[in-house]
């Protein structure tokens, strides 16, 4: 029975889709069968980030409407044969989603995969509500800034009231990823620190990802940054994926600047 994890953020542009792609690939690298599903109907991006843009034939709405079978629509990744992808429709909009059809689709995905990662749309409208409806767990992606935190807080509130698991009396597991941390800015006090964010949101930390300029190029190339062994962000995603697969991995401190000799001397006199 697969584990359904929704990747949510509330605010747009914080790195949900990048996180989804990297975690999906990371889980597959841990030798688990994983499918990433793009729920951002009408604005699909995940296909590009996974480098599968030209392979999309059928999309999720066509599967739900019975126009294509699930096996026809699932696209196997070029990078790892344990990773599959289900594209969002680019022509339809959010109204194409219906609870019963989503439930049926997710149940059949559960049978075939260990991990089902759902990439939620930004915002808190019906598209978002449908994404979290049948999720067992949610990964909340935030940036260390106030508007992202508040939107995430709102999204968690909706998750806690509208998901099917909560309606059944259970609790949805919630994990936090703090994305795009700039160590220098945290130290100078311009950016919220992780402990502040954890205080505000009151959920468990899954991982921290540093700001990395390489992500833009990786997205453009369609090669998730997790494949780059020299990237700090890639390594952070690798650790996060392993933690999701049940491994106990230390959380390295990303918020202190690994400074030069001069900075260390300055630190002594602080």
């Amino acid at each position: 029975m697969g584990n359904v994890i929704a990747v949510i953020s509330g605010k747009g542009g914080v790195g949900k889709t990048t996180t989804t792609a990297n975690i999906g690939l990371g889980i597959a690298l841990n030798n688990k069968r994983c499918v990433v599903v793009d729920f951002d109907i009408g604005q699909r991006n995940l296909d590009m980030i996974l480098g599968l843009e030209n392979r999309v034939v059928y999309d999720i709405v066509q599967v739900m409407d019975g126009e294509a079978s699930l096996s026809q629509a699932l696209i196997k990744s070029k990078m790892n044969d344990k990773l599959y992808f289900l594209a969002a429709s680019q022509t339809k909009d959010k109204t194409a989603l219906q609870s019963e059809k989503i439930s049926k689709l997710i149940e059949s995905l559960r049978e075939d995969f260990d991990y089902i990662i759902l990439d939620a749309p930004a915002g808190i409208e019906s598209g978002y509500e449908h994404t979290i409806e049948f999720a067992d767990a949610a990964i909340i992606v935030v940036n260390p800034e106030v508007s992202s935190i508040r939107d995430a807080d709102r999204a968690i509130g909706i998750l806690d009231s509208k998901s099917q698991k909560v309606k059944d009396g259970a609790e949805v597991a919630k994990y936090l990823i703090i994305n795009r941390i700039d160590a220098k800015m945290v130290q100078s006090g311009e950016m919220l620190s992780s402990s502040d964010i954890l205080d505000i949101l009151g959920i468990n930390l899954l991982g921290k990802v540093p700001e990395d300029k390489g992500i833009i190029d990786a997205s453009n190339q369609g090669k998730p940054i997790i494949l780059n062994p020299n990237s700090a962000a890639g390594q952070a995603y690798k650790r996060i994926a392993s933690r999701l697969c049940g491994e106990d991995i230390d959380m390295p401190e990303l918020e202190t600047v690994q400074g030069s000799f001069l900075q260390k001397i300055k630190g002594i006199f602080k």
């Binding site: 106030v146 935190i149 508040r150 939107d151 807080d153 709102r154 509130g157 205080d199 505000i200 009151g202």
Partner: protein, 205 residues
Amino acid sequence: MRNKQYSVKVFETTLTDEDQFISFFNTNYNLFKDYLIVIHGDISQKIQEYLQEKELRFVNNIILPKSQGRKAVEEEIAVQKEQQQQVENELLKLSDRLHNNLKVQDTLVRSGQELTIDGDLLLLNRVNSGATIIANGNLIVTQLVEGSIRCFGNFMMLKASPKANIVFHDVVVDNSLLKERLNRVELKDNEIRITPVLKETTWVM
């Protein structure tokens, strides 16, 4: 002092048409000769002479005190009893509220959530930015408040919360007045008073 108490028969009338008035008293003279006549309206010379001639005793434009019948008195007593019962019920309800209507919550209140409480609330977690709490009773929040708070109770206890929007009985409370670990905000003599309850811990370096 010598006092006497009488019950007097009174005939009350309003004067509009003088001729009609005179003819009425002419025909009913025997009936009204022992009555005190109360006349509303202006009495002209003609009427005054007529009344004096007939030796009718009258007063002009006086509102008479009316004694109540037994039934009316009983009704009034019943109303009073009912009011007293209502007050007692209200008090009962209030004491009930004080003992049983305290809600304790330890989960945090997230952005977009609105918590409305009829009684008292003890909140052991944060109120995040964008969240709203409306308490019709007393309110105690032990953690940081960044959202908005409306309280209509006798008092509030709050931590120093520079980002909060606090309204106590429709009056906006200045955040800078809440300085300590826990502050009591209360209404006394129509004035909002803020007193520190728990001081901020300061560590000896």
